[in-house]
């Protein structure tokens, strides 16, 4: 089953090129179908054993060393949901059929990379799949139009290369100190307190901090998200950055660091600084997508902060916030796509009073904003509560206070966004503005419903998560 998550999208990319040109309009829907299957697969592994008949030997043919657990399934689920949303946004925002076809192909390549990151148990393989995702994402950003594409794409690829150098150097040190590059070998080296193993781990963490846009390595993210075409922003903000940087950190915290003191302290400090800096930078933005980008930095800081708390609860809290943020942030970027499509601008100083003209976009964006700010009973409230509890259990009271206070700043910048864009007196220049097309509203509404449903039904979800030992 695990192998199929790599092989099916890969084979699909190759087969899509065999389609006659006039049939390529179906490419977007084929990719959508594959991502729908991926979403289902996240549940199949956990809840049922299914005989895939003829397909099973195909997966075993190559004998990849993969393993799935609750964390892998979380990433696979988010990838499926966010990928489908991005494809729907692409359908309504990209201009010609060829652009849509290539977008679908590159998303499928990135999906293979992300699935690989979710399932590998070896640091070099992790690096390889992070690179697969980075190359596909770079092309997606660079394919955009506008003056800022060069800056966004260049910063992304340049800092990706810096991260690669750090990670490869780290692998060399791991080989020297432990003789292996599996997560288990790294854990053995760290448990033996081998200095070279700790240097290697510090370098690998720095590489992942760059990929995950942790402060002070966050410089690339706002430019990349802003420069990218609308569906690419949805995909990047929803899953790419999180899987490449943050999920890899979660995997290492769970499998390798195991609550060891120096690693835990690094995660706490980096997480807290990232939350605060990201939140205050969000407050000062006037561009809709740029504010969302800095907000993403801040929220990913929460996930990393949780990893420094009580190990089991911290991983659970980080996983839940990972999911909530993937859903809500890709939804907000879908809202941004709708606004940009209708108004042709994302400058919040030029907006105002759009709530009356775009009620669905306004309503869904309010749900996502309030959830990310941590207001009950939405899903974001529960994940932030769990993060604070994980820190409290680990007696990290100061960091718990930072998490709570920064939530107020989050609320402040999202209220400011809502006020500037959707409330107030409608501006004369937008008198003709109308709600976005149904095609753009469907992903936003579907993602908002997930946020509400998870918030209201959280006790049931928690029971399932705890039962699965996520």
């Amino acid at each position: 089953m695990s192998d199929l998550l790599l092989l099916v999208p890969f084979v699909a990319v190759v087969l899509l090129y065999l389609l006659p040109k006039r049939a390529r309009t179906a490419g977007l829907w084929i990719a959508f179908g594959i991502l729908a299957l991926e979403t289902a697969a996240a549940f199949i592994d956990r809840f049922a054993t299914i005989d895939f008949g003829l397909l099973a030997p195909l997966g075993k043919l190559l004998g990849f060393h993969l393993a799935t657990d609750g964390l892998s399934e979380l990433v696979i689920l988010c990838t499926g949901l966010v990928g489908m949303a991005a494809l729907l946004v692409a359908r309504r925002t990209l201009e010609d059929e060829n652009e849509k076809f290539l977008f679908a192909n590159l998303v499928l390549v990135a999906v293979v990379g992300i699935n690989g990151i979710a399932m590998v148990r070896d640091l070099f393989s992790l690096y390889v799949f992070v690179e697969v995702t980075a190359v596909a994402t770079f092309i997606l950003i660079a394919a955009g139009r506008g003056d800022h594409v060069f800056e966004g794409a260049w910063k992304y690829i340049f800092l990706s290369v810096v991260a690669s150098v750090l990670m490869l150097t780290s692998l060399g040190f791991f080989l020297l100190s432990t003789g292996g590059i599996t997560l288990d070998a790294a854990r053995t080296g760290l448990a033996a307190n081998a200095p070279l193993a700790w240097i290697a781990m510090a370098l690998f963490l720095c590489g992942l901090f760059v990929k995950g846009a942790m402060v002070p390595f966050h410089g690339w993210l706002a430019d990349a998200y802003t420069a990218a075409p609308a569906p690419v922003s949805v995909f990047m903000a929803g899953i790419v950055t999180k899987a490449s940087g943050i999920f890899a950190l979660m995997r290492i915290a769970q499998s390798t660091l195991g609550g060891a003191t120096p690693g835990r302290e690094i995660l706490l400090v980096v997480g807290a600084v990232t939350i605060v800096v990201g939140a205050f930078l969000s407050l000062t933005q006037t561009n809709f997508k740029r504010m969302l980008a800095y907000s993403s930095i801040s929220q990913m800081g929460y996930i990393v902060l949780a990893l420094g708390g009580d190990l089991r609860l911290g991983i659970l809290a980080a996983g839940l916030h990972f999911f909530n943020h993937a859903i809500s942030k890709s939804q907000l970027f879908a809202n941004a796509a709708a606004i940009e499509k209708q108004l042709g601008t994302l400058d919040m100083d030029e907006m105002g009073g759009l709530g009356a003209r775009m009620p669905v976009t306004a309503g869904t964006s309010a749900v996502a904003s309030l959830s990310i700010a941590g207001l009950p009973p939405l899903a974001g409230f529960w994940s932030k509560l769990l993060i604070v509890l994980a820190l409290w259990n680990a007696k990290e009271y100061a960091f718990a206070a930072v998490a709570i206070l920064a939530s107020l700043v989050t609320l402040a910048y999202f209220l400011s966004l809502q006020r500037r864009v959707f409330f107030g007196k409608p501006l004369e220049k937008w008198a003709g503005a109308r709600e976005a097309s149904v095609g753009l509203l469907v992903p936003a509404v579907a993602l908002a419903l997930i946020t509400i449903a998870l918030g209201v039904g959280f006790p049931f979800a928690l029971k399932i998560l705890m039962g699965g030992g996520a």
Partner: protein
């Protein structure tokens, strides 16, 4: 020993060529050659796993370099080309001397610690390493090349559209 020294010299020359040439294609070829030679050096020193990783990383790196440079640059005029070559030579000419001096100096230095490299299982046979131990990475590198090919398709088409 003579073969080994010769390999190292060609490796350094290929790396210098990659950094000093002003043509993207030549630079990429130089990088590929340097990487392949480095892999051969590693094989001959018995570090098969490191050699396979070097090959694997370089395959990905070359596609990234090609795609990113192709998409982020514009062709230069002959005058710009000549001016750039002169300024590049002025900046880079000490590099070979520094490399040779560093190599000579390092050959006299003995590492203060006795580092033991634990060889992974299957090391020594490149087929075992490639097909039995690292086949997942090989799959990953094929994907990077596929993404690179898609990138060339997307970005060159975009460039053509922009030119129109």
């Amino acid at each position: 020993m003579i073969w080994f020294t010769l390999l190292l010299v060609v490796l350094v020359l290929a790396a210098l060529w990659a950094s000093m040439t002003t043509t993207l294609l030549r630079s990429t070829l130089g990088l590929a050659l340097a990487s392949a030679l480095l892999s051969v050096v590693m094989f001959s020193m018995g570090a098969t796993l490191a050699a396979v990783m070097e090959l694997s990383v370089c395959a990905g790196l070359i596609s990234v370099v090609l795609v990113s440079v192709a998409s982020l640059t514009r062709p230069r005029s002959i005058q710009e080309e000549l001016a750039s070559r002169r300024s590049r030579l002025r900046r880079i000419w000490p590099l070979p001397l520094v490399l040779i001096a560093a190599g000579v100096a390092l050959s006299f230095v003995h590492a203060p610690v006795d580092i033991v490299l634990h060889l992974p299982k299957g090391d020594g046979d490149v087929r075992t390493v490639l097909w039995s131990l690292r086949q997942l990475d090989l799959f990953g590198q094929i994907l990077i090349l596929l993404a690179g090919a898609l990138g060339v398709l997307v970005l060159f088409r975009k460039e053509a559209k922009d030119d129109d």
